[in-house]
């Protein structure tokens, strides 16, 4: 791959992709954490 001073201006796509990845992972992780917390409370040792 070559490097040059003025690459095409398409940073919006990168920002959208990075934001999408973060949102999907955080929402899924929080969903799992809430489910886990609820079940830990319900099922005692």
């Amino acid at each position: 791959m070559l490097l040059r001073a003025e690459p095409p201006a398409n940073g919006g796509f990168m920002v959208a992709a990075y934001a999408l990845v973060a949102v999907v992972l955080v929402v899924y992780a929080v969903t799992l954490f809430v489910r886990a917390r609820s079940l830990v409370g319900e099922v005692k040792e």
């Binding site: 791959m1 690459p7 095409p8 992709a17 990075y18 990845v21 992780a29 886990a36 079940l39 005692k44």
Partner: protein, 251 residues
């Protein structure tokens, strides 16, 4: 799964209704939560490195940096489905309930990661290819794998008997995992617009060092992310199992 609570205990599936199962589930959840939080923090740092400290590719511009999340997500999704296949095969051999639960956890996390792959791909494709989607073999087979895994998860919620559910799911899980090498090799087997692998190819890595190290960092982070999420999801599955067994025992 919750709707099958009374049926699960009446089946022939051996249930481990012990406090040690609860302790193991809680340990799995705690470790998984720690790894997930660690991976999310590392992902934020990875974004900074990719944006600020990794060179901009000459022809593709900033959109090429989608590569640093798209490829790691694809790697971890394929890892998830590989583990799904191994756990499913081992379940059919050993009939250990924990293997079935881990397979389910891996399939669910893998499906979420595939969703990331299928959405970040078009965001990269639009500025580079000029189109959001191409019905070529790599994209289409990945979409097919995603639908197959949604089918797997739907199947699990449609069969009430746990032993039957585990057996049928294991077969579908193995079939899903068998698609992974085909998807990886599809860019060599067919004429396709999708780029060829930049690390796992016969000539070795074909990236400049700075880009390669950022990519490998992303792969490591998404691997930890997968491990964290799958451990939490596995712990949930075991606790759910225990809850159903106790509910059934109480009549």
């Amino acid at each position: 799964m919750t709707s099958s609570s009374s049926l699960s205990a009446s089946s022939s599936f051996p249930q481990s209704s012990t406090s040690s199962a609860v302790v193991a589930a809680r340990k799995s959840i705690r470790l998984g939560q720690a790894l997930t939080v660690l991976a999310l923090v590392a992902l934020a740092a990875h974004y900074v490195r990719a944006i600020q400290y990794t060179p901009i590719e000459a022809t593709q511009g900033l959109a090429q940096k989608i590569f640093y999340v798209h490829v790691p997500a694809a790697w971890s999704a394929f890892l998830a489905f590989g583990i799904l296949g191994v756990c499913s095969a081992l379940f059919l051999w050993l009939h250990d309930r924990r293997l079935d639960l881990f397979a389910e956890a891996s399939a669910e996390v893998g499906t979420v990661l595939t969703l990331i792959v299928l959405t970040t791909g078009p965001l990269w494709g639009k500025p580079i290819w000029g189109t959001w989607w191409q019905w070529e073999v790599r994209l289409t087979s990945t979409l097919f794998l995603f639908f197959l895994m949604v089918g797997y998860l739907t199947l699990r919620r449609s069969i009430f008997d746990p032993l039957e559910r585990a057996r049928y799911s294991a077969v579908v899980g193995i079939l899903g995992a068998m698609l992974v090498p085909f998807i990886h090799l599809s860019v060599y087997m067919f004429r396709t617009i999708h780029p060829k692998p930049v690390i796992l190819n016969p000539e070795g890595p074909t990236l400049p060092g700075s880009m390669l190290s950022t990519l490998l960092e992303g792969v490591a982070i998404m691997t930890v992310m997968y491990l964290g999420l799958v451990l939490v999801r596995y712990g949930i599955g075991r606790l759910q199992d225990e809850k159903e067994a106790r509910h059934a025992a109480q009549g």
